[in-house]
């Protein structure tokens, strides 16, 4: 076929620039969505601890919705659907301020929050009942039991799964290309359609995704070993 593999052509000048902007956008999207996911995930966990049935149902519905609807569809609901419900002024503001980035971050963050809430809950569940009883019997109240006994252990257990969620979130930011967010996958397609260097462009993107993913995976397995509870 006489095809010359030429990485230099996609890694120079404005194309290199596009890749760098893409990486920066992917990282920014991951970070914003991650913060939202943690805040919302912890909030959901706290809501679920309130012994009031309708609130429990609300959290269950929230989790099931985000786990059973494709993420791309959730992004579409936020990007195409939600602004149409907002007043005109809000719509104009969204359009003027890179709304697609913001709405993608909201969709990704809220979806990840469902998984974060589940991870924290299984951390809490994995603390044996005897720990509560022992803590209560030596005089801790509910908050003291939670704050000094249960949560320090539960969060430790939840760290490796949460790092895994971070990996999934990082990979899922690629879906934002479907609504025109200029992240790595989107920029890669742009480079590809300008240079016709399909193989090179996607090789670069693949290498970048793999590097970051492997770093997150390594962090995950390190924390798994490091934070393992030593039971005596």
């Amino acid at each position: 076929m006489g095809y010359v593999f030429d990485l230099g052509s996609v890694l120079s000048g404005q194309y290199l620039n596009w890749f760098l902007i893409g990486i920066a956008t992917t990282f920014a999207l991951t970070l914003v969505a991650w913060c939202l996911a943690m805040a919302m995930g912890i909030t959901l966990t706290l809501i679920r601890m309130i012994p009031f049935r309708p609130l429990e149902w609300f959290v269950a519905l929230y989790v099931e919705y985000h786990r059973n609807v494709p993420l791309l569809v959730q992004i579409f609901v936020w990007y195409f659907g939600v602004p149409s419900l907002l007043p005109r002024v809000a719509r104009q503001w969204i359009n003027a301020h890179h709304g697609e980035f913001l709405l993608a971050a909201i969709a990704l963050g809220l979806a990840a929050a469902a998984y974060v809430a589940e991870d924290i809950r299984s951390g809490i569940r994995s603390i044996p009942r005897a720990q509560y009883e022992a803590s209560r019997s030596i005089g801790f109240g509910y908050l003291g039991t939670m704050g000094y006994v249960v949560l320090p252990q539960a969060l430790r257990i939840a760290v490796p799964p949460l790092i895994n969620q971070t990996l999934l979130l990082f990979k899922n930011t690629s879906l934002a290309m479907a609504i025109g967010v200029g992240e790595l996958t989107y920029r890669t397609r742009e480079v590809e359609s300008y240079t016709f260097k399909t193989f090179e462009a996607f090789a670069v993107a693949t290498a970048i995704y793999l590097t970051v993913s492997f770093a997150i995976m390594a962090l995950g397995s390190y924390s798994g070993r490091r934070l393992k509870l030593e039971t005596r």
Binding site: N68, V73, F76, G81, V82, L167, K171, T185
Partner: protein, 236 residues
């Protein structure tokens, strides 16, 4: 909302068929089923290779699984989109492209499930088989895999749910499936995006939630039939 469903339910269900290619929910289910079925043998092979005592089987399999897990599905879709025509030597449609990408992607994830199933079996099973004089293949095929796959049934149903959700990415390469159909409806109506995508989300939810519930039901059945206590003691 009811009106949109009344006017477009056929498009959601089968796409433009019979005036065009089959799409909609039918194609979504077809692609999910076919790609899961096709990736099954690869997944078993990968799982066995990862558990193999031969280094030269274990290391490449481990590398493949980690590489696939480190990449977004959309990367596989684009690789398949651009390169399967080169490899096959003819134009490849969106549906085939998506199935190729899904088979590669799902095989890695399914292999992890199968591996967990095999590792979850008591060691006594293989030891007893060895003691009876069975070799590697009879042990694997007649003792290990049947039990492991049975125990893994709930996870496989969950994997099927993931696959259904992942077919929505076919939209990106214009494969005719449910999300694509909804986008078409939205392009015609223009003024009711929230309703259209709401219907889309509800459709996926109804389908996937039913399957997730089925997975939970099977899980309870299996754990009771194995004599264990169903579920874990619930605390928080």
């Amino acid at each position: 909302m009811i009106e949109i469903i009344q006017n477009n339910w056929l498009l959601f269900l089968v796409g433009q068929y019979p005036h065009g290619p089959i799409g909609g929910l039918t194609m979504t289910m077809f692609m999910a089923t076919v790609s899961l079925a096709l990736c099954f043998p690869f997944a078993i092979a990968l799982a066995l290779a990862r558990l193999s005592s031969h280094r030269w089987l274990r290391l490449p399999a481990t590398a493949i699984v980690h590489t696939v897990r480190g990449l977004p599905l959309i990367m596989f879709i684009f690789w398949a989109y651009f390169f399967s025509p080169l490899v096959i030597g003819r134009a490849v449609g969106g549906v085939e492209t998506l199935i190729i990408a899904l088979v590669v992607y799902e095989a890695a994830y399914l292999s992890e499930i199968i591996r967990a199933g095999i590792e979850g079996l008591p060691k006594g099973q293989t030891e007893a088989a060895t003691a009876l004089g069975l070799g590697y293949w009879p042990t694997t095929l007649k003792i290990v895999l049947p039990q492991a796959l049975h125990n893994m049934l709930p996870s496989m149903v969950s994997q099927f749910v993931s696959t259904i959700k992942e077919t929505s990415l076919g939209y990106v390469i214009s494969a005719h499936e449910l999300t694509f159909a909804a986008a078409q409806v939205n392009n015609v109506l223009l003024t009711q995006p929230f309703e259209v995508y709401g219907i889309l989300a509800l459709t996926y939810f109804a389908l996937c939630f039913a399957l997730t519930s089925l997975a939970r039901f099977i899980e309870r059945r299996i754990s009771t039939s194995r004599g264990g206590t169903p579920g874990v003691a619930v605390l928080a």
